[in-house]
């Protein structure tokens, strides 16, 4: 067993265990922490695949941004500690498990049977910051200048929308805006 496969299985176990936490934990705060752990594990897998920049982005934006946002929201929504969360009925859980299992079987079988035949190769050059930057600003075929600009619009729209939706007051209640 090489060092790489050892780290791969370690990361995979870590990711799946944290994902299990996200899916099953009753306490929302634990869900958020499980998601953070899972995302860090995925960043580690990116490192294994020589995508260093992507790994850094994953940690900075996902773990540092999205998860922190989720934690803030969980803390603002004060029924975190509420013990009696409504659970789905058991039959529904079984049905969901069967559906998820079938999906897993189909996707995994497709991946394994298809046999894409990607062998071990030297580390790619195109995952470097330089290449990603060139790709994001290139306008020709294979360039991502348009998605790059569109995503900035999407982010602005999401920010404004989020502020508008979350910042509204109850009707008739004159509390000051926080």
């Amino acid at each position: 067993m090489t060092l790489e496969s050892f780290f791969f299985y370690l990361m995979a176990a870590f990711i799946l265990y944290s994902a299990y936490f996200v899916v099953t934990a009753r306490n929302l705060f634990r869900c958020a922490i499980g998601l953070a752990a899972s995302l860090i594990g995925i960043a580690g897998v990116y490192l294994l695949m020589d995508a260093q920049f992507l790994s850094a982005v994953q940690v900075a934006v996902y773990v540092g941004g999205v998860v922190v946002l989720v934690v803030f929201a969980v803390l603002m929504v004060s029924d975190v500690t509420q013990k009696e969360y409504l659970r789905s009925p058991f039959s529904r859980s079984v049905a969901a498990a069967i559906i998820a299992e079938l999906l897993l079987m189909i996707v995994a079988a497709a991946a394994v049977v298809q046999g894409f035949g990607g062998g071990a190769r030297p580390a790619p050059d195109s995952a470097s910051v330089r290449e990603i930057g060139h790709a994001l600003l290139a306008t020709g075929p294979g360039g991502f200048a348009l998605p790059f600009e569109v995503i900035s619009l999407v982010l602005v729209a999401a920010l404004v929308g989020a502020c508008t939706v979350a910042g509204d007051r109850d009707d008739g209640e004159g509390g000051e805006r926080r």
């Binding site: 695949m49 996902y62 999407v154």
Partner: protein, 103 residues
């Protein structure tokens, strides 16, 4: 033998099915949002795996996950804003409580 493309694809498939299972069973809106994040990450993992093992010359495989991350961040911001607003009006985060628009 070091892990190949199939290993990463199976890992992503596992993560995806975890997310789908959570999405189908959880009834809390924030928990459902977290499960969606798992699904999105599984997709991004597939992109990077294909980039690493099959299409090394094409930077699309690493640019797309970045776009996915940006869209996921926007989605999380909007969804959490809706959750906070809903909680203010309903004091409840059960997915079935959000039926204001149903006739």
């Amino acid at each position: 033998m070091s892990p190949g493309l199939e290993h990463y694809l199976v890992l992503a498939a596992l993560l995806f099915s975890f997310g789908v299972f959570g999405l189908l069973t959880r009834r809390n809106l924030v928990a459902m949002l977290l499960c969606v994040e798992l699904v999105l990450n599984a997709a991004a993992l597939n992109f990077v795996a294909f980039h690493r093992f099959l299409y090394q010359g094409d930077p699309a495989g690493v640019v797309f996950p970045i776009l996915i991350i940006a869209v996921a961040a926007a989605e999380a911001a909007v969804a959490l804003a809706v959750v906070i607003s809903l909680f203010r009006h309903r004091k409840n985060l059960d997915a079935r409580a959000a039926d204001t628009l149903s006739g």
